[in-house]
């Protein structure tokens, strides 16, 4: 609609038509500008969100409108060992993967904050795992974790002679869980590292100079300057990371589809299995809704992380 008024610009300047005047009327213009974005979000985000909560209280299946059945779906879930298993693994997966991503990502950011040749090229390479479609790199990991032709097994058995038999990465529960976490960490490191690097670059070098004059060791400089100054950005990046790790779907679906014996189901993959593949939309929606309390918790974490920023950096810097 913005385009249609433009050809008449010359005329509009001389004698504004009613259309041009309408588009210069601020309230109308605001509504028109916000309409596409808000409309899309309301129809495809807010409405489904509400609908999902409603579906969780019905027994809808694919092809059949359900009726309200109260909290029956949730009662069923609370008695379902698979759901508890998925809750456990979702939390475990999020906790371990987030810890790994941030430990390694922070380290990588600190390394990248030094001066060395080909710095921008290396920074570009580092971000690659994050750019490539997750499912496709997950397939590469699936191949790396192959029971027979795993390249890691080959290295351990035939090259380094550390083991006698191939590693069974995806065949039994605990190795499969850790294999998935490793793939998730691999994929998450670049995002964390590049975001934290941006934060590191905003820290004024004069702080470090002052600390060095006072005789601070490099550990003290890290502990008392780098770390506190990074807290705000760390909190934001961590919130995003936690939310999107907790609700992860692609990696698990691509590599194990929840197996072996349902030991690696996350809540999202379990919801997909019950809701879309199994056709029990109501139950799937209930599983999806059961993720919301955890997400709210993560968002509050972000809020308090942001609030911390004010007293740490003084009122001038926000």
């Amino acid at each position: 609609m913005s385009v249609t008024t433009l050809p008449s610009r010359g005329q509009a300047l001389r004698q504004p038509g009613w259309l041009a005047r309408l588009f210069d009327y601020k309230p109308f213009l605001i509504v028109m500008c916000l309409a596409p974005a808000i409309g899309l979000l309301l129809v495809f985000l807010t409405y489904p969100l509400g609908l999902g909560i409603w579906l969780a209280f019905t027994d809808t299946t694919i092809g059949q409108r359900g009726v309200y059945i109260g909290v029956e779906n949730f009662q069923y879930l609370l008695k379902d060992p698979l759901w508890w298993n998925a809750v456990f693994y979702s939390i475990f997966y999020t906790a371990v993967a987030t810890f790994g991503k941030f430990a390694l990502g922070f380290w990588l950011a600190l390394l990248l904050n030094n001066h060395f040749p080909f710095k921008s090229l290396i920074r570009a390479i580092v971000l690659l795992p994050w750019i490539v479609p997750t499912v496709l790199s997950a397939l590469a990991f699936w191949w790396i974790y192959d029971p027979q032709f795993s390249i890691i097994s080959y290295l351990l058995v035939d090259v380094l002679h550390l083991r006698d038999s191939n590693v069974d990465f995806l065949g039994s529960p605990w190795p499969a869980r850790f294999s998935l976490i490793a793939a998730n960490i691999w994929r998450g490191i670049p995002f964390v590292a590049i975001s934290l690097l941006a934060g590191l670059q905003t820290i004024s070098p004069s702080l470090y100079e002052a600390a060095m004059l006072d005789g601070a060791t490099s550990w003290q400089r890290f502990r008392y300057i780098t770390f506190p100054m990074m807290m705000p950005i760390l909190a934001i990046v961590m919130t995003f990371s936690i939310i999107f790790t907790f609700t992860d779907f692609q990696l698990v679906y691509a590599i194990t589809r929840g197996g072996p014996v349902n030991s690696t189901h996350l809540l999202a993959t379990l919801a997909f299995q019950r809701g879309i593949a199994g056709g029990e939309l109501g139950e799937g929606a209930a599983i999806a809704v059961s993720m919301i309390p955890f997400l709210v918790f993560a968002t509050l974490f972000s809020y308090f992380g942001l609030a911390r920023r004010k007293w740490q950096q003084g009122e001038a810097n926000d």
Binding site: K26, P36, L45, L127, L139, V237, T299
Partner: protein, 298 residues
Amino acid sequence: MTDVAAQSSNVASATPDTMAWDSRARRVVMIYLPLACFILILLFPFYWMAITSFKPNAELLNYKEHNPFWITSPTMAHVKHLLFDTSYPRWLKTTMLVAIGSTFLSLFASTLAAYAIERLRFRGSPYVGLGIYLAYLVPPSILFIPLATVIVQFGLFDSPLALILVYPTFLVPFCTWLLIGYFKSIPYELEECALVDGATRLQILWRITLPLAVPGLISAGIFSFTLSWNEFIYALAFIQSGANKTVPVAILTELVTGDVYQWGALMAGSLLGSLPVALFYSLFVDYYVSSLTGAVKE
């Protein structure tokens, strides 16, 4: 050179009065060695993907006689199989269509929204901005089941149009926040001058603000393209027929068949599916980094 580097790199390097040789050895151990390990591990899956795509099956499944890290007789058989015996070209076309369509739709919607929030300034505009930001925190995993029923209601099930309309739900919040940041950096005085000269608001947006925000638009555009190219869960849930699938979904659901996996073809498919975004990325690296970090800093 090393002196300058040692002084200006303020985190991990030695104190300036250390001897030059000592600090160089220290740098190798503290910086270059871990960095090399990181790069090796981050890149290895891609190397493995690439090398598997061009290996003949005999080499692929025999580590005793062939060094798995290298190819002795490269073959195009897997790529050929992919391009001529499967609907891979069709999947690529669909993915491209969906990615471009949803990118333009979200750019259009978020440019107008960001302009309204940042420049037209009305009562409650910060709350609208906050609302759009909160939309970004709603992950697709809790939306896909109810969205599937919405898509069926609209009669869009199994149509790429459904994906074009749904992807903006996670693209618009991101693009809007990115563009608000860019619009903030454009001096308001420019717009005031134009207002005094009698330009309408839309003329100002089209002729002054947008041309100045081109870097922001490029950032938002390439980011949206990448995110929609990579999207998986909606494409998996809303598309049923083999011909309409996007590349990530199709490789996983159409190429993984039976018990013996065609690793060569799978890896070739992954490689080809990653290439468009990787190429795009290599052309616009700086925009990616700035939009990623800009969005986080906002």
